[in-house]
Symmetry: C2
């Protein structure tokens, strides 16, 4: 028994099924792919594949479809990560030019990823962990309200409104901002907590209450920066991808809106040697995502592995893994590059 032909058969099944959305039978396989053997032989192979749990038959008299394990093997051993098409490269290059601020950068990228893959795309907001404090600014909004703004080396700008116990002059606020900037400059945002007490005693007594409020706000900002967030695009692709997922689409959307689920999942996923992390069907270990697969890759502005955030797509298990994988990986590399450049 030729073991490699079995894999060829599996590959053929996956490819055909992905393409036609219908269970594929031995005859069709023999015709469409030049395996150079008869349908009967293929049937034997299919029987083996079924025993190993790689494919399954919806009904006795129907063709076979890949199981989650089948897709897994396909993804791990069989498929090759494609090269990008010129059009895809072009789209990315164009994107690079129109990017200005941080948030819209991510937003545009996630849209592009959704378009290119025809799937739901997600990007995890980079965490602050490695970012350093670049500047702190305090702006008076009303006599008793002020906006505390923290700018990080990553280019991210965080803000928070605070209410002061009593009115503080604009100059004083500015002064406080300068103090904070000096004291916290280049401090890693993950080195917590900031020395609030020291900061307070370092200013004139009459400003100490204000400083307390403001310093706490900075602290809160840094903490909330560690909370993950996600930007998403292309949810319409879920529906468009056909009655494929059928009525399950509702729960999937719910799970996606429930960002926590996705974040946990992304967090758990380990990158393989190809620079991709993939979860298929039950591997997502989430009820509503049984019929979906997640293809993700890390992107990091610098070479600090482990803290990098992820980006990826969510689609039906029956997806074109080859092209999805390559697009996701390319997009991750691309985003890393852009972010490193500034």
């Amino acid at each position: 028994m030729s073991d490699t032909r079995r894999l060829q058969v599996l590959r053929a099944i996956v490819e055909d099924y992905v393409h036609t959305r219908e269970p594929v039978g031995s005859k069709a396989l023999a015709e469409r792919h030049n395996l150079e053997v008869s349908p009967a032989t293929i049937r034997n192979d299919m029987a083996h594949l079924e025993e190993e749990g790689l494919i399954a038959a919806p009904h006795t008299s129907a063709g076979r479809i890949p199981t989650d394990q089948g897709y897994r093997l396909f993804v791990d051993k069989i498929t090759e990560v494609r090269r990008l098409s010129k059009a895809e490269r072009r789209a990315m290059d164009i994107l690079a030019e129109t990017a200005d601020d941080y948030d819209s950068m991510l937003e545009q990228t996630v849209r592009l990823l959704a378009m290119l893959t025809n799937q739901v795309a997600v990007i995890q907001h980079p965490q602050h962990v490695t970012a350093r404090i670049r500047h702190v600014d305090i702006v008076q909004m009303t006599p008793q309200k002020a906006l505390v703004i923290v700018i990080l080396s990553s280019g991210k700008v965080e803000q928070r409104m605070v209410t002061l116990a009593e009115a503080v002059s604009e100059e004083s606020l500015h002064h406080l901002g300068q103090r904070l900037s000096e004291q916290l400059f280049n401090r890693s945002s993950s080195a917590l907590p900031i020395p609030v007490d020291t900061l307070i005693t370092a200013v004139e007594p009459d400003l100490q209450p204000a400083m307390a409020v403001v310093a706490n706000a900075v602290q809160t900002i840094l903490e909330s920066g560690r909370v993950d967030r996600i930007v998403m695009a292309g949810t319409a692709n879920l529906a468009r991808s056909g009655g494929d997922l059928g009525p399950a689409i509702g729960p999937i959307l719910e799970a996606l809106e429930e960002q926590v689920v996705l974040l946990r999942l992304l967090h758990e996923m380990q990158q393989d040697q190809r620079g991709l992390s993939i979860r298929i069907g039950q591997e997502t270990s989430h009820e509503s995502l049984q019929e979906t697969a997640v293809v993700a890759a890390e992107y990091t502005p610098v070479e600090n592995h482990g803290t990098g955030a992820k980006l990826g797509v969510v689609g039906p298990t029956r997806m074109d893994y080859g092209s999805t994988m390559s697009t996701v990986r390319a997009m991750a590399r691309y985003l890393s590059r852009i972010l490193s450049e500034g």
Copy 2:
């Protein structure tokens, strides 16, 4: 012929249909609502209503369902805007406490609105038009890159990365920021364009190229602030609301992701005397939204009518208008209040 009873019949049809999702017949109506007339009489009324185009029968031998015009009449003349339940009030109050920065404020609100109405909720980002420049800040990121930050009186913080032709010291950048702050302070963000030339000539010659870049960035920021944006939540509710919208859900999601469509629609909608704007079915004049209705209301931090942004929900035409309308209106008022407070 009692004209008011006809309306009662219409109301009953709308209510029953919204509740059961099934065409409602004369017999069922006579039983469930105490109209005190026989089914035959109701049939006569229904014939009239059908003539007027307010209801229609899917098949000859089926009950009637309201047409878009039927819903419209129902909304305009019949339904009353309900009061909020205690639970709803509570949810809003809790929200008020957890709000800190601008964006997450809107995000939380839109989620709450989606939850309360069980529909897709949208909030239009407030436009800058009435906001004034509060502060401009420039922070060095790398020797040749700087982040330009504009803080508006509304509390919104806008940012943009710029690349300088040649390295500029941190102090010089700061200096430029101060100049811009002074010159542009309290300038309405809609008063355009800013006097770039004047600003440039007001600084030392060696800083003029940098000033040019930076001033242009500010200009761009102010302009982009006039571009509308939308935050959205609860897309899963679209699917959950049952096969109701059926396969049409895909195009609807697409239309929603295409924010432009929604923005145009919201823009066109005029608020009625109750403080609500509603579009039903074809009134949306958008292909994919034929089966949906939009209920929106303006919210404004201050009493500058006309420039206020809108918030609302998108759902199937077959929705509970009464409760949706009240929730949307309450949320608009609530958001106005929060934003006015700071």
